[in-house]
Point group: C2
Chain length 390, copies 2
């Protein structure tokens, strides 16, 4: 049995990034860049007007003749005489021989005649070619997370494909003869299976959608067979249940028989003590406790960072915050605790019903309160670590 | 022209929730419940063991004969004699006449003979029927956000369908003759169109996927036609560009001609001054500035809350945090500012290049710094409001 911190450290060391693949920028939200991006063009790509107004060649003159119009998207580089100006709009091409734009609010116009009533400074209101980004400049570093702004930025540089770290294909393997799919009749002695949709949803919150859910009954032979198939076809396998020490808990045996290396098994914590972490080649395996609340806690604390590493993230853990606890708490278990809690801007309250079997308090919680095994008692108003959940 | 706070207040008042629809629990992540949920069954649905061990009838006896086995999922309610026990596993049905479970670590077993070495208290290690949730109890209130935990909780109660507020169908209408799709050749005078994929990605971060992107050239006739179609078929319309006062900005005219009521136009802010908000029947229209950075800022500050309201959320704004600014800042514009910034645990830095035309600083930013129009100067280390972005 190991402590929480040691388990996290083993996961951080053993988990691996997915291979690099090229994808469309439009589909790259929340992927991590696997390459540095250099600007293929200047931005702006030409001298453009920053205003609706008139482009002219700066001089002592205040009176001009308007000879043409440059709307955004137009391109005409015709010569103009010294006393000639062109009507121009924001974003429009500024002809090479014109240097300055006067905003329309600082002019009087009468037919073709233009009078500048407030003279702008030389080169005012013109964005120079490459002023924002020069062709060839580094625009996004490797390992950048692709945000909506980054997608827009890449698109405005004309970039349509980028190299990113792939997202993992995940198998969720549900074990337990007592489980019945929701929607079916519930025979005596059975309960509804909830971990598969719950774990699937938890992965969807971080953009993982290639998820296959499988069910296996409590037999060693079947468990071995299903896990063997999963080990060949998935990057990360989450097994639910069958991992404690009961006579019918076949999962660990089936994993070892399939050549999965045990990296740890059992953590000094509550909930989620029986948690197996292993690896075969590049495939990572978590065998999670079957109790729904233990399963979800284990997901947030241990599976989440492994998934984040696989996708190339550098910040792999859910962020931690500190809050004052609203009542004292005794921890005589000698174990590290993850308590379902509800926090606001200042404080955090331990919710009732911390049972690992049920999700009622989890469904009300917005965070997990972490108390280390060596924190025996926590006083009211003492600051504790809270992990906001998704 | 109105102030930021007034614009936000109009949006909050005028935006409306989407109709209610019934969906699968498995697909309900981040929807908002439109009904209260009551438990259709007891949880647990039967008396179940909380341990791997032996079930027996509590008495003075320490020696028992093991007569059968109850594995999780089994159901057998056979009578047992006073000196008979059954092997039982976590989650398994506890026969009616047995009251207590002893954990296996507190027993000695030899063939069928069992000796209890440490006697548990009466009724220990048994979870009573309905102990966690009683049939008929309120389990999730109306307006609850469906989290992974809530999905699991509903599933374990056997619930497969719930009523939620639908998500809006959104049209993104791109205007501007200067725009060319990324991937095509860029003619002189033109720029790449980036707002559609950027706004689409921003909506994907909050779970909106029914998005149609349309393009319209700068003509009043076409703009009117496209907007007319959108007004009949979408819940929220985002028009990009064509909303300032240039001769070729047809959007406002086309909206009014289609019967859209103007709720505000232009906000005393930078970037994003020309921003139109209107409504026709239940359809909400935002006409956003065409400059990419203005567009995205407007999205986060104004479109985001309208989308959140439509989906039934009660917390409609991006959360605000406070950070110490790393350098003094003068705001002589008389306008409220949203500055691209980068914050950490303690402080926030105003990024270089705040131009509304470019996304380079936005792609580096993790927050918008909000300075109200009446905050003329901010000193170094003064606390400012930061809106973390997605």
């Amino acid at each position: 049995m190991i402590q929480v911190e040691e388990a996290l450290s083993i996961i951080a060391t053993q988990s691996c990034r997915m291979p690099i693949k090229k994808i469309q920028v439009a589909h790259a939200l929340d992927f991590i860049l696997a390459e540095a991006i250099y600007a293929p063009i200047d931005m702006p790509p030409f001298r453009q007007s920053a205003m609706d107004g008139y482009a002219f060649s700066h001089s002592e003159l205040h009176d001009y003749k308007v000879v043409s119009t440059s709307q955004a998207g137009d391109f005409s580089n015709k010569k103009t005489a010294k006393n000639e100006a062109i009507r121009i709009f924001t974003g429009a091409f500024v002809p090479d021989r014109l240097d300055t734009v006067v905003m329309q609010e600082h002019t009087l116009r009468n037919d073709d005649f233009l009078q500048i009533t407030k003279m702008p400074s030389f080169c005012a209101n013109v964005r120079n070619k490459g002023e924002q980004v020069q062709k060839g400049a580094l625009v996004l570093e490797k390992n950048t997370r692709i945000t909506p702004a980054a997608i827009g930025f890449l698109a405005c540089l004309g970039i349509t494909k980028i190299s990113v770290f792939a997202k993992p294909k995940v198998a969720i393997v549900i074990t337990g003869n007592e489980l019945v799919s929701p929607g079916k009749k519930l025979p005596k002695g059975k309960i509804f299976e909830s971990n598969s949709v719950m774990l699937e949803a938890a992965m969807q919150t971080i953009g993982i959608s290639k998820i296959k859910k499988l069910t296996v009954n409590d037999s060693l032979k079947n468990t071995k067979k299903v896990l063997k198939e999963c080990l060949s076809n998935f990057d990360i396998i989450l097994v639910s249940g069958g991992i404690s020490v009961g006579d019918y808990d076949f999962v660990k045996e089936a994993l070892l028989a399939n050549g999965v290396e045990e990296l740890f098994y059992t953590i000094n914590q509550k909930p989620g003590k029986p948690l197996f972490f292993g690896k075969k080649e590049q495939t990572i395996v978590f065998a999670l406790p079957g109790n729904p609340a233990s399963s979800l806690t284990s997901f947030y604390v241990y599976v989440y960072p492994a998934l984040k590493i696989s996708m190339g993230f550098e910040a792999i853990h859910l962020p931690k915050i500190k809050r004052k606890i609203t009542s004292s708490f005794e921890n005589n278990s000698g174990k590290s605790l993850f308590l379902k809690g509800f926090y606001d801007d200042n404080s955090v309250t331990v919710l009732e019903s911390q049972s690992s079997a049920m999700l009622n308090s989890f469904a009300m919680a917005n965070g997990l309160i972490y108390l280390s095994f060596d924190a025996v008692s926590v006083e009211k108003n003492q600051e504790v670590v809270v992990i906001p959940i998704l």
